[in-house]
């Protein structure tokens, strides 16, 4: 073993009779390094994308939501919320009412999902109110500032779309109109923009507006009902099981959804993207392995006479095979080590300085996230080494098959 490694490492370092072999060897090392680094960076990005999207999503949305199967509103929501909050695994619960509306300011308008909340409870299940960028959510507390316009907190992109700022007055139009002697007319209500939040999750920032529960009930002409009761639970990944317990506790006529169900297509797409990225960028490693195969094959041809001489003083064919096997593995190990160092460094720099900006409208995130994981490095290194090992099999076995008398006969 020591002998084979001694020969292999010297062969790798030595200047060659055929410069081309040295060039291809160098290209092999660079190729493996490039492939490994690219894989680490790409996996760090896809992983970061998934992690950040999940974080933002979970910050903005509840883990489990309870609603009426018939969508007729939850009437006894106060007692129900109180009761369900004490269930196992439930850490927080908050009621909310949702309604679709049109928010307009002058000639500019935008569709919005208007959520009526009780801020003190909402804060326990969602971090939207913690992401107020301008203004304040304090006005959303029930029955404050009676007599003035009701407060509204807009998502940042929605605010930009309608041209609203903190203090602006906006008109919210409910499609559920009022019946008048002139027929059904939409219901209007003026709101005062009290704050603007920015969650970093485009879906929320572009379409969400938060208002007081009672104001939204009034806007949509609803009695004292809520649409959903939102829950935070202690284990994200038990959302489905806890949801079933909540359903059972709530009684008949209720159903739950959870964050995984609501976003399963997003996460499935991210998973698919990660697999596809791994395969596509992994092809770089395969190309590098091809270089290893070429470099070793040429080296075996160059060393045919030396191999024959080694056999003459008793070096076994299996030792000859291992010399070239180790040489291929050395190329791969050096390339992989360089690739891991470059990949993790680049991923750390990218994650730390966030110097690559994205269009939030397209990617939901306004920067390219990097989340390198050591598991990815282990998998990538193992794949690179295995692919390289496969590439060394042919040249190393051909080296062991050299017949010394044949090789020396024509020297």
């Amino acid at each position: 073993m020591r002998f084979e490694l001694f020969i292999a490492s010297r062969y790798l370092r030595a200047r060659r009779r055929q410069a081309l072999v040295g060039v291809i060897t160098a290209i092999s090392v660079v190729g493996v390094a490039a492939g490994v680094a690219a894989l680490i960076i790409a996996l760090a990005i896809t992983n970061g994308m998934r992690r950040d999207l999940q974080q933002r999503l979970l910050g903005s949305t509840a883990h489990v939501e309870l609603m009426r199967t018939a969508a007729d509103g939850i009437t006894h929501w106060r007692s129900l919320t109180q009761r369900l909050r004490s269930l196992p695994h439930v850490t927080a619960a908050a009621p909310a009412i949702y309604g679709q509306g049109l928010i307009s300011r002058g000639a500019r308008s935008g569709g919005a999902l208007i959520k009526g909340i009780l801020p003190a409870q909402e804060r326990t299940v969602s971090s939207l109110l913690n992401n107020i960028r301008e203004g304040s959510a304090a006005d959303l507390a029930p029955s404050t500032n009676a007599g003035t316009l009701p407060p509204l907190v807009l998502g940042s992109d929605l605010a930009a779309q309608v041209g609203a700022e903190v203090g602006s007055t906006v008109l919210v139009t409910s499609p559920q109109g009022e019946l008048t002697p002139f027929g059904l007319v939409p219901k209007y209500q003026r709101f005062r923009v009290a704050g603007i939040f920015h969650s970093g999750f485009y879906q929320y920032d572009s379409s969400f507006a938060l208002a007081r529960l009672a104001d939204v009930q009034h806007l949509f002409s609803e009695p004292d009902v809520v649409s959903v009761i939102s829950f935070k639970i202690d284990d994200l990944y038990r959302a489905a099981a806890v949801g079933r317990e909540i359903e059972a506790a709530a009684g008949p006529g209720f159903m739950t959804t959870n964050w995984m169900e609501q976003n399963q297509e997003l996460f499935r797409a991210l998973r698919l993207e990660q697999v596809a990225t791994f395969i596509i960028i992994g092809l770089i490693v395969c190309v590098a392995a091809l270089n290893i195969l070429i470099a070793l094959t040429m080296m075996v041809m160059e060393k045919t006479r030396d191999i024959a001489v080694m056999m003459s003083y008793g070096v076994l064919p299996s030792q000859i095979r291992r010399i070239f096997l180790y040489q291929g593995l050395l190329i791969s190990v050096i390339g992989t080590a360089i690739g891991l160092a470059v990949g993790y460094s680049a991923a750390w720099v990218g994650g730390h300085y966030r110097f690559i900006h994205l269009s939030a409208q397209v990617y939901s995130l306004d920067y390219l996230p990097f989340a390198p994981r050591w598991q990815d490095g282990a998998i990538v290194a193992a794949v690179a080494l295995l692919v390289s090992l496969a590439a060394t099999l042919y040249p190393s076995s051909s080296s062991a098959g050299i017949l010394p008398a044949e090789a020396l006969r024509y020297e």
Partner: protein
């Protein structure tokens, strides 16, 4: 059966028995030698001469187990070389046979010391022990001061001395030298040959030397000529380069007929 060196087999260090070598050539078979018998005593220095292409190097390859005979057998004492597995044959070569070529065939990436130590390193002997043994041999061949030089930094004669050190470092009993002075000028060739004879004596070797140089051949214990596929002993006195020895048993070494070479398939060596 042509017995050239009529020696009691019980005294034989190395012996071939009806050795044949034939190659496929075109539509026929090129028979290089047929029923070749050679017996070498322990401690003997035997020279083999012959024209280019007569099969001298091939014979040495078969004696070392580097090539397969078409038929016949090679014995080291009572060991039949062809019966050994590849691993056993390699270990046997490592232990028992030193080989020197016309071209030194040193590994250019390694120093003289490392080259000389190779047979021991191949056994996975610890480096310090292998290098100590190699350093002793390099001292013995007069290259102790050049141990750290790479092969390319040495002259032809020096490279050949390193090759001798490499051949002998593992303490073999048999030295096979294939035209070891063939690429050297007369003066260097003479000094290398003197080194060979010194090493032969000092290491109590049995040596078989292939050479074109009849002057050197004369200085060996016996000289055999390989001609027409047979070995013929040449009388030492009055030997001329192109002389046909009187006891020559002329035979067709090259033929397209099926010879006894195909009678026995020799067991596969390494």
């Amino acid at each position: 059966m042509t017995e050239v060196a009529r020696i009691d087999q019980g005294d034989a260090f190395l012996r071939t028995e009806d050795l044949c070598k034939a190659f496929p050539s075109g539509n026929g078979t090129l028979t290089l030698f047929r029923d070749l018998n050679l017996t070498v005593r322990r401690g003997e220095m035997v020279a083999i001469v012959g024209e280019s292409g007569s099969g001298k190097s091939t014979l040495l390859h078969m004696l070392a187990g580097l090539d397969r005979p078409s038929a016949g057998a090679v014995y080291f004492g009572s060991t039949l070389l062809g019966k050994l597995t590849a691993g056993q044959a390699a270990a046997f070569r490592n232990r028992e046979i030193g080989y020197v070529w016309q071209m030194h065939y040193l590994l250019p990436e390694f120093t003289a010391l490392e080259n000389a130590a190779m047979p021991l390193l191949a056994r996975n002997m610890p480096k310090n022990q292998a290098f100590a043994a190699a350093a002793r041999l390099l001292d013995e061949v007069g290259l102790g001061q050049r141990a750290s030089h790479r092969a390319g930094e040495l002259s032809g004669g020096e490279q050949q001395r390193v090759a001798f050190a490499r051949a002998l470092v593992a303490g073999p009993g048999l030295l096979l030298a294939d035209e070891p002075t063939g690429s050297l000028d007369a003066s260097t060739a003479d000094s290398v040959f003197r080194l060979l004879t010194q090493l032969h004596t000092a290491h109590q070797l049995t040596s078989i030397l292939v050479t074109h140089n009849l002057d050197l051949a004369r200085r060996c214990d016996r000289t055999l000529r390989l001609r027409d596929g047979q070995l013929q002993q040449i009388p030492v006195a009055g030997m001329q380069p192109d002389q046909t020895p009187p006891e020559s048993t002329a035979d067709t070494g090259t033929s397209n007929v099926q010879s006894s070479c195909v009678r026995v398939q020799a067991p596969g060596p390494a």
